[in-house]
């Protein structure tokens, strides 16, 4: 089984004869080196996984960035549209002229309202 090699790597008690026999074969020696290399591969990956930044925070900042881009884009588009409108004389005229009234109401004193005197007033 060669699990004596794992015991050796893990600083656990192991049988010297068993370990010697395991290393007597090329496969055993190859396994020892591979398992040491495996540790060199796994350890940094485990550390990286444990210190991995929060996905929710990344998502949060992506959302904030998207909102900023949309606001800036909207502002720039508005500025561009405003510049485009002000350069057109027809649009400028129509923007400054008042619309035609749809109804006229006239209020006459003594008919629609009556002045009354009040104490202390005018």
């Amino acid at each position: 089984m060669h699990d004596v090699i794992s015991a050796f790597l893990d600083n656990e008690p192991f049988d010297a004869e068993e370990f010697s026999a395991a290393l007597a074969t090329p496969d055993g020696r190859q396994l020892l080196v591979d398992l040491v290399a495996l540790r060199g591969v796994v350890q940094p990956a485990l550390t990286a996984a444990a210190t991995q930044p929060a996905a929710s925070r990344r998502t949060h900042w992506l959302g904030v960035a998207a909102a900023v881009v949309m606001l800036a884009g909207g502002f720039a588009l508005g500025q561009w549209a405003a510049r485009g409108n002000s350069s057109s004389p027809e649009t400028a005229v129509s923007a400054t002229s008042a619309p035609e009234p749809t109804a006229n109401y006239r209020f006459e004193p003594g008919v629609n309202w009556r002045e009354t005197s009040s104490t202390g007033g005018h």
Binding site: M1, D3, I5, L9, R39, V41, Q43, T47, A50
Partner: protein
Amino acid sequence: MAESQALFLTCRDSLVRYLAGAVGHGETARDLAQDVFVRVVAATRLPPTDPERRAWLFHVARNIAIDHLRRERHRRADALEAEPVAPAGSGPDTALMVKQALAWLDDLGRDVFLMREAAGLSYAEIAAACGLTPDAVRSRIHRARLQLREFLQQPIQTARARPLRTGLR
């Protein structure tokens, strides 16, 4: 209470490393570590010796990780997500390959391996945490390593080209 906090603080980093390997995500691992902390401080009595306390702490952590993984599997099944795919042994992101390789191990094999590699527990402590004998732990860890060796052939070959060290970091 103070003893519980001291135990948790002493083991927190190794606990998060173990949980990150078990659930595959650092932020989730930190959340689960908080769950472990709540359980630990709620305990009315701690085991008498340090090795027993560490084993008990990781026993609690393992149960919490198992519950989390069970919920995740239900959620994945509901969402018709695929099971983890065995890595092909090549690719640019070694950390991702290790994560996939760990996900491919059986739960117990992954736990005993991570308790050793990520948390540095002894075989006796792992045996107490997982309800096994130390011999069974030795066998399980070795089997997990053989499987990972198969999955991670390419990164192992790359690592062999550099100077190696045997000790845990």
